[in-house]
Structure formats: structure tokens, C-alpha cells
Amino acid sequence: MLDRLLKLDRRWIFLCIAVATALPLIFPFSLVRVEVTDPTRGIFDTIDTLPAGSVILFSNDYDPGSAAELRPMTLAILRHAFHRKQRVVVMTLWPGGLALTQDILQQMTVEFPHLRKNEDWAFLGYNAGQQAAIANMVRNLTETYPKDRDGMDTASLPILVKADGRKIESLKDFAYVVSISAGDPGLEQWVIYGQGESGCLLGGGSTAVSITQYLSYFQAKQMNGLLGGLRGGAEYERLLKDKYGTEVKNAEGKGSVGVQVLSVDHFLIIAFILFSNVIYFASKLRTAASTGAER
């Protein structure tokens, strides 16, 4: 009987996961508030303290494969920056991220109707150069992106003039650089090819899978903030909600909803692990006992 349980058809496990994910989405609940961690607070505090009009470079380095995890934090950070009247230059190093980023920016212009294109935000588009694009931006931004997404000369964009009248020419001129990344090219390349050489202030978010890889950079202060997966998005949404309440539209988004569903799935998987180990050891004990009895 125990051995049969250990060899359970995996489709039963699939069914459990499907039900545990779908049911809380059909009947949403919000029992518990998510606790905010230090790496998340790092990015929130930076954006919260930057003066209005500061120019942030935002690199949206992911495609639809990771959008469910990373879109909530992208939206939360952009909402925060635009609410604080900062200006955001957006780009992507992932080909599949281009239209996704355009979609996000369209959502932002609906939520913040006062935003002026090329003055409060600009979209530089996609660059296939990967690490070469970052390394080139360290020396010259307009050579890396001679035109924006709409074909306008990047050098002529009003957003690239700082409040004090100086021009933004390279990575180090941005008040803050944020990369939301799902892998390579992403945060690691921004640290190695961008922050290391230019010394720019860097923060970012990543999929939960690769977050452990970036914790070392955070501890070494190569990054001043780090958001991890859907939970990172939920933490940022909570900070936004706590500080600005209803001032920021949709402050509580998909991150806050999704993280409650995560609870159910996590508990189910913990139960799987514990259950299979109990059966495994019970089966081992029984085998040992029967071998002893035979002797």
C-alpha cells in the first residue's frame, strides 16, 4: 500500500496543483498582509526620495514567459515613479519584451493622463546588442539608441535634459537605473557591464528563480534594492498602498492577489514533500522490521 502511494500517478499531483491554483482565483480571498523585506524597501525608498523631475532609466528585460511574475512589480514601480513626478526612459533588451513594454506604457498613460510623451516618459525600444548595448550605454546613450521606438532622434528628446539643464549622455547621468529581468541579458549584465564601469545607482527585480544569484550583488552594495518574483511585486504594492493609499490608482494589483494564491500552492507542495517523506521512511522502517523478523 505504502509503495503504491510512493508510485502515485503524477497526474493526480497535477490535478491537485491545478485545483489549488484555479479555486483561489475563482474565489479570491485576502486574509494576510505580505511582510516587506529590506531589499524591496531599498528600491521604494530610492524612488520615494528622488526629487521630482529626476530621470530614471527603466529596462524591462523579460518576455511573456515571465510576465505573470514580473509585470506586477513593473507596474508598481512605474506607478510610484510617475506619481512622484519623476521622468522615466524605458527600454528593453529582450525581443519578446518590446510589445509587452509598449502595452505597459499605454496602461500608464491611461492611469496618468497628464503624462507627456518624450517629456515625462520615452520609449527607446529594443536593442539586440545584449551586454554590448549596456557597455555602449556606459559611454554614449545616443550612439546605442540613435532613434527611439517611433524613429525620433534620441538626442532631440526633451526627457534627456535634466532639471539643471545638463544633458543625459550616458548611463551615469541617470538618477537611478532599474532593470526588471528574467535572465540573460538582465540584472547580472547590468551589474557587470553597467554599474561596475559607470558607478550608476542600480536597483532591480528578477524572477524568483534567479533571485539567489543577485543577493550577493545586493549585499555587496552593487545594487541598492532587489525585488523577487510575484512576492516582490506584492511587497512593493503594499508599500505603495501604505504610503499613498488611494492617491495612486490600482496600487494593489495582481501581485497582492497572486501572492494569496501562492500561499495555497506553497502549503500544498510542503504537504507533498512531508507526506512523501513520511511514506518513504515508514516504508523503509517496515522493510527493516520484516528483514529483522525473517532473521
Binding site: 482565483l25 505573470a68 525581443p95 561596475g196 564601469e197
Partner: protein, 243 residues
């Protein structure tokens, strides 16, 4: 609620069908999954090819050469031609020049930057908190000691030039435990990440299950299940006949 425009409605049905085709793999490998899988490869490649061309090759190579703004772009233009020479057998060896240039630039780019960002800075961040008697160090002393022990023991574990016995073995064993904690954390976070992606797909399927989209999800779910059932029966008969 108003129904969406026809093109969006068709799009939603196609999107739900694609999702269900791929999810059908959970039952077992089947032709619907294979259709979805191959469609995924083709659609991705088709989309990427357009992005590479319009966002990098066109503005930086074609236009620069056409307008004569950067005559040095003739170098990557030649390399581009050489890269494609691999399809012409007698001249395939000329593509080596393009690979050689690529490898040289990528390697030259990596070395100094890896030394600074991935070697010197992490090593300094490991040792510096221990040397900071007072000052702005926000890291308390005991975590810094644990981090140092962890880094040394993990590096010892990966250092095969000396035999792992005696004190070296002890250090390497401690390194294994640090690695296990790292991998355990990675596993926990990987579960979180993958489930988050599933939540995203389920969210879309639930959204498209309503009347606004003419019940795309339940209808296509039933259709997919029916096709799977029929194919399963057909396949079992085929297997039985073979046996």
C-alpha cells in the same frame, strides 16, 4: 458587457486553444501538444527575426551604410556576409572570421568587467565588513564572519588541485552544507516562480471563460478533452495491433 471586436474575439479563442494544447501534455504527449510546441518555436523565431532586423540591423547597419554616416559599418557588413557563408560548403571556412571577431570582442569585453564586478567587488564585500572596526558598515560582524566562512569553504569544495582529506575535507564538507542551503532556497523560490507563472495562465483562462468571450475556455477545454480521448483510444488500438 459589450463583446470585444471580432479580431480580438478570434484572438482570444486562438489564445485559449494554444494554452490548452500545451497544457494537454499533462495528460500525456499527444499531437495537440506537438502542434502547440512547434507553433511556439516557429512563432517565436518569426517574431524575433523581425525584431532583430527592425530594431538593430536596419537602423545600425542598413541605414548607416545607405546614408554613409558611418563607413566603418562595412566591417560588420562583411562579417554578416561571412556568417552566412556557412551554407555554401566550399566557402564555409570563411565564416570563421566572423566567429573569430565575435569571440574576440565578447572575451575582451568580459575579462576586465568580470574582474571588477564579479571578482574584486564581491571579495572586497566579503572581507571589508570584518576590517571595519567603526564607520558606516551596516552589516553586523557575525553575518560577515559566516559569509567569509561560506565563501572559503565553497571555494575549497570546488578546488580539486589538492586532495580532499584531513582539514581540507572538513572545509569542503562545510562548503557542501552552504551549497545545500543555497540550493534548497533556490528550489523553494523556483517553486514560487513557476506557480506564479501558472497563476498568470489560469487568470487568463478564467477571464476568457465568461459570456463576454462566448465561453471560450469551457468550450475549448471540452473540445481538447474530447480530441485527447479519441486520440487515446485510437493510439491504444494501434499499440494493441502492433503487440
Amino acid at each position: 458587457m459589450e463583446p470585444p471586436p471580432l479580431s480580438d474575439l478570434i484572438g482570444v479563442w486562438v489564445s485559449v486553444a494554444c494554452t490548452l494544447f500545451l497544457l494537454s501534455f499533462l495528460y500525456r504527449d499527444n499531437p495537440l501538444y506537438k502542434v502547440g510546441e512547434n507553433l511556439f518555436v516557429g512563432v517565436s523565431m518569426g517574431y524575433y527575426a523581425i525584431r532583430y532586423y527592425y530594431d538593430t540591423i536596419h537602423p545600425k547597419l542598413t541605414m548607416e551604410l545607405w546614408n554613409g554616416t558611418d563607413r566603418w559599418m562595412i566591417v560588420p557588413a562583411i562579417m554578416t556576409v561571412l556568417l552566412f557563408m556557412r551554407f555554401i560548403k566550399p566557402l564555409a571556412w570563411t565564416s570563421r572570421y566572423a566567429y573569430a571577431a565575435l569571440m574576440g570582442i565578447v572575451s575582451g569585453l568580459a575579462i576586465p568587467r568580470f574582474v571588477t564586478s564579479n571578482l574584486m567587488t564581491p571579495m572586497s564585500a566579503t572581507v571589508k565588513p570584518l576590517l571595519t572596526v567603526s564607520g558606516d558598515s551596516t552589516v553586523p560582524m557575525y553575518p560577515a564572519i559566516i559569509i567569509l566562512i561560506g565563501v572559503v569553504t565553497v571555494l575549497t569544495y570546488f578546488f580539486y588541485s589538492i586532495e580532499h582529506k584531513g582539514p581540507v575535507k572538513w572545509l569542503a564538507t562545510a562548503g557542501i552544507y552552504f551549497l545545500m542551503v543555497s540550493f534548497g532556497t533556490s528550489f523553494g523560490l523556483t517553486v514560487m516562480g513557476r506557480v506564479s507563472l501558472l497563476i498568470g495562465r489560469c487568470d487568463d483562462l478564467i477571464m476568457y471563460a465568461g459570456g463576454r468571450y462566448f465561453y471560450a475556455t469551457p468550450i475549448l477545454l471540452a473540445g481538447t478533452a474530447l480530441v485527447l480521448l479519441l486520440w487515446d483510444r485510437h493510439d491504444s488500438r494501434k499499440q494493441a495491433a502492433k503487440a
